[in-house]
């Protein structure tokens, strides 16, 4: 059976995920998305993975959410509160969501996963660090290159070419 902390975390995560998609203002939506990501970090803590939880907090809540907030502030004011959507497509989407939840949920509940519990001690996070620096070190280097390339790509995409330096007034 689940305990109270788990129930509270799942209500927080699922509820704020729905709020993030449905609330009218995009700014409150991104704050609700931040709550969802923090809820996932709480689940990581419940799963005895404090290292991944802190990584999730610092990367998602710390940087990605702030990035999304800045982008939301860049767009025009009436677009933030504007909500246009097809009624028919909305009902079809809700049906798709319920069908996915029920179908996948039935498959998972019917599988042998139900009896799976563990009493073994959790993985030491020193093991993760050792893995990163030995077996996974080529992958770590490739990931660093990908991150650098994506940041440079984002900067190049977002640069304005119609303004030169001497045109700036500020």
């Amino acid at each position: 059976m689940v305990d109270a902390v788990f129930l509270a975390l799942s209500v927080l995560t699922i509820g704020s995920a729905i709020v993030a998609l449905e609330i009218r203002s995009l700014i409150y939506g991104s704050i609700a998305l931040m709550l969802t990501l923090s809820g996932i970090a709480g689940f990581f803590l419940l799963l005895d993975a404090p290292f991944v939880a802190m990584f999730q907090l610092s990367v998602y809540v710390g940087s990605i959410a702030v990035l999304i907030l800045f982008t939301v502030m860049l767009v025009r004011r009436e677009l933030i509160f504007n909500k246009i959507e097809d009624k028919r497509r909305r009902y079809a989407g809700i049906g798709l969501m319920l069908a996915l939840m029920l179908g996948l949920g039935m498959v998972i509940i019917g599988s042998g996963m139900k009896s799976m519990e563990t009493n073994s001690p959790s993985v030491d996070y020193k093991k993760i660090g050792a893995d990163f620096l030995t077996y996974y070190s080529p992958a770590l280097i490739v990931m660093a290159l990908i991150l650098a390339a994506s940041v440079v790509g984002a900067l190049t995409l977002a640069r304005r070419e119609d303004i030169t330096n001497d045109q700036r007034t500020d």
Binding site: V2, L21, N82, R90, K114
Partner: protein, 101 residues
């Protein structure tokens, strides 16, 4: 541990379904990015949950890689949205139908 593996997997399925709903219904580009974030997070939750119950350390390693790649994806996605907003003065994806040069 009182929580079984199936509880975490069910939460992850619910988050995945909500993310797919957001991708399918919303027309605002930033809201679609929210849906993508939720799908990625449900995948990460699955990785860490299975790694705890096997038990194995490689699931957590893979989750860390996945979080870093997702950060790169969001940076590029937001830059694309800003470029499209500058071209069309809108973030409604119905207006992006004629994306060219």
């Amino acid at each position: 541990m009182t929580n079984g593996l199936i509880d975490f997997v069910l939460v992850s399925v619910a988050l995945l379904a909500i993310g797919i709903y957001g991708l399918a219904v919303k027309r605002n580009a930033i809201r679609m990015l929210f849906g993508v974030e939720m799908i990625i997070n449900s995948a990460n939750l699955n990785l860490v949950a299975f790694a705890r119950f096997i038990p194995n350390s490689q699931g957590q390693t893979l989750a860390l890689f996945s979080i870093a790649i997702a950060a790169a994806e969001v940076a590029v996605g937001l830059a694309l949205i800003i470029v499209a907003y500058r071209m069309y003065k809108n973030i409604d994806i119905e207006d992006f139908r004629s994306l060219k040069g």
